[in-house]
Amino acid sequence: MRLLRNIFRRKLRAFLTIFGIAIGVFSLVVMGGIAEKLTLLVDGGVIYYQGKVIVSPDSGITGLSTGVLSTNLRSDLEKIDGVARASAQVSGLLDKEPSSVNFGTIPSFGASDGRERGYETFIVTYSQGRELTNVDNGKVTVGADLVKKLDAAVGGTVTIRDKKYTVVGIADKTLTAPDSSVVMTMHDAREIVFDDLPAEAKTSTAKDTIVSSYVLYLDKGVAPAAVAARIKRHITGVRAVTPEDFEQQIKQPLQIFTSVIYAIGAISLLVGGLSVINTMTMSVSERTREIGVRKAIGASDAQIMSQFVAESGVIGLIGGIAGLLLGLMIASAGNAAGEASGNALFLVTPRLMIGSVLFAVVLGVVSGLYPAYHAASLNPVQALRYE
């Protein structure tokens, strides 16, 4: 209480200083929220890719190819040394032309031939309804982040590419790719993929053999890189992606990206720290006489020092909490707005919350050190004479 009264002696100045810290923490929370979300997505991807090799058309992007493979390829892939099982996947973008800029995963649809059962360890569970089976033509299950966008409810219908599908299940949140995908049958997915093919490709493609990618499950102890190398040697026109490739292509750039994001947040907080130094220095000089009195009535240098350090630490704490609340508000508002398009941009994790506030407190304390030292080393006689 005494500390707060001292801090709020100059209300406007205290408010502005705290506001400066709050803006810094706010930017750290919001920026960090994006970074945490992306990191989690990618970590999910890393887990998904573990011990697998993904085979896609050479021209396509991992998992979301525009070119197509064929069902014929499966027996060839399963002949490759070290491959235990090949599961065919048909997938594509939910919207023909994805709207606006997307962070994280783009809403998509996907289907599999079911051959991954017993091999796949990344199991999606359902909060409502049930899993899709291969006889569920015209039916879908919906990922957690797409519920709002598609206005999905079990038993109701959703519209995808102008066609209505009945929803039989809604998936639990996985915090990674499945949250933004719709699962349908191979038949239904092939309809959409075939429709998307260029006219000239349509004539040379048999609709019911379309495969977007294969997920290869490997024998125990086989290195994904070795399998990828064998595929490259024996099969043409495909690209084999290993967990290592994923790490290199996605995770490392992401780490740089998140470092930059955190650095920007930290810099804005440092600016707030400078204003704490300024405020505390002014406060010390205004209270010079009071410091002299405190020394005269028996305060030691250490007691004076700790008083001012505590004051600046509390400024950091109040600013930190205010910034955190502001950040949480904006992040949840942003997520609410993003849900409509199936994209939650922010993930404010407990470690981010605690870390941001702690950083603000430490910054406050560190910023207070010099002014506090100056206060503690004032000559009491001169301080008492100060008007």
């Binding site: 005494r2 002696r9 009195v293 005269a296 028996g298 030691s300």
Partner: protein
């Protein structure tokens, strides 16, 4: 008579030059506080014993002022003494050095039989907290703290627990007649009431000496008389020694003795009342 005490006695009467050295080896002794086997020159009845005090302040480059030029004085235990003198005579500097807020360039200061002019830093802060209470002209209460907290703060600085400090603060505020104003902020108190809070604050650590720097300087005559009466009552009841620097002859007259200073030395030790 020892060499040291002889020199001290000589300086008291201005016969010898004050010691130029401050005996730096003394500072290295345990805690810097040297216990006095027998008070130099005088008996133990002197709670304050000052010899040949010199203090020079630097005002600017090559511009000095000699605030004290070999001042000496003794204050008896339980005495209430006034120090008078024109502005610039060194009264305040004397008070700051006795109060362990400042250190002399030369000379000796003994408080309760302990030499303190060689003490520095934390040890000096401890001596100040234990031996000295201050009352200032401008009251100098902390504006953000109420009466109780202003008083208890000094006890907390000296290491008392919050509850003990508050309890003692309440008792002392009753003693100075502010039992019904304890939760008031300084801005809600009159000048006389503020000075009473300051007196309670000065008393909270049971100091042996209370130093007053123009304690009635900002008060009207009636209030001034009240404050002096309060100080006198505390002096009589607790035996605490008071040294008051004042310009006010009426305040000085109320004391046991009037010490007069001029040009950085004590020129009149005053008649013991």
């Amino acid at each position: 008579m020892s060499e040291k005490s002889k020199r001290a006695a000589d300086t008291l009467y201005g016969k010898a030059a004050p010691p130029a050295d401050v005996a730096p080896e003394m500072a290295s002794q345990a805690d810097g506080v040297e216990a006095l086997a027998h008070a130099p020159g005088e008996s133990d009845e002197h709670i304050i014993h000052v010899r040949g005090l010199r203090r020079r302040y630097r005002l600017g480059k090559d511009n000095f002022v000699d605030a004290l030029r070999g001042a000496s004085l003794d204050i008896r235990r339980g005495e209430m003494a006034a120090i008078m003198g024109p502005s610039g005579s060194g009264k305040s500097t004397m008070m700051h050095i006795i109060g362990c807020l400042d250190v002399p360039d030369a000379g000796e200061v003994w408080l309760s039989g302990r030499r303190v002019d060689t003490v520095r830093g934390r040890a000096l802060t401890r001596v100040r907290g234990r031996e000295i209470g201050f009352i200032f002209q401008g009251f100098n209460l902390i504006p953000t703290l109420n009466a109780i907290d202003n008083v208890s703060l000094a006890a907390e600085y000296a290491g008392a627990s919050r509850s003990k400090a508050v309890e003692k603060a309440k008792r002392l505020l009753e003693l100075v007649g502010l039992g019904d104003r304890m939760r008031h902020a300084p801005s809600e108190l009159s000048g006389g009431q503020q000075q009473r809070v300051a007196i309670a604050r000065a008393l909270v650590n049971d100091p042996t000496i209370i130093l007053g720097d123009e304690p009635t300087g900002d008060l009207d005559t009636a209030t001034s008389e009240e404050i002096v009466a309060t100080l006198r009552r505390i002096n009589t009841e607790t035996g605490t020694t008071f040294v008051l620097v004042t310009h006010n002859p009426e305040v000085a007259e109320a004391c046991d003795r009037i010490i007069r200073m001029r040009d950085g030395v004590v020129v009149d030790f005053g008649e013991q009342a």
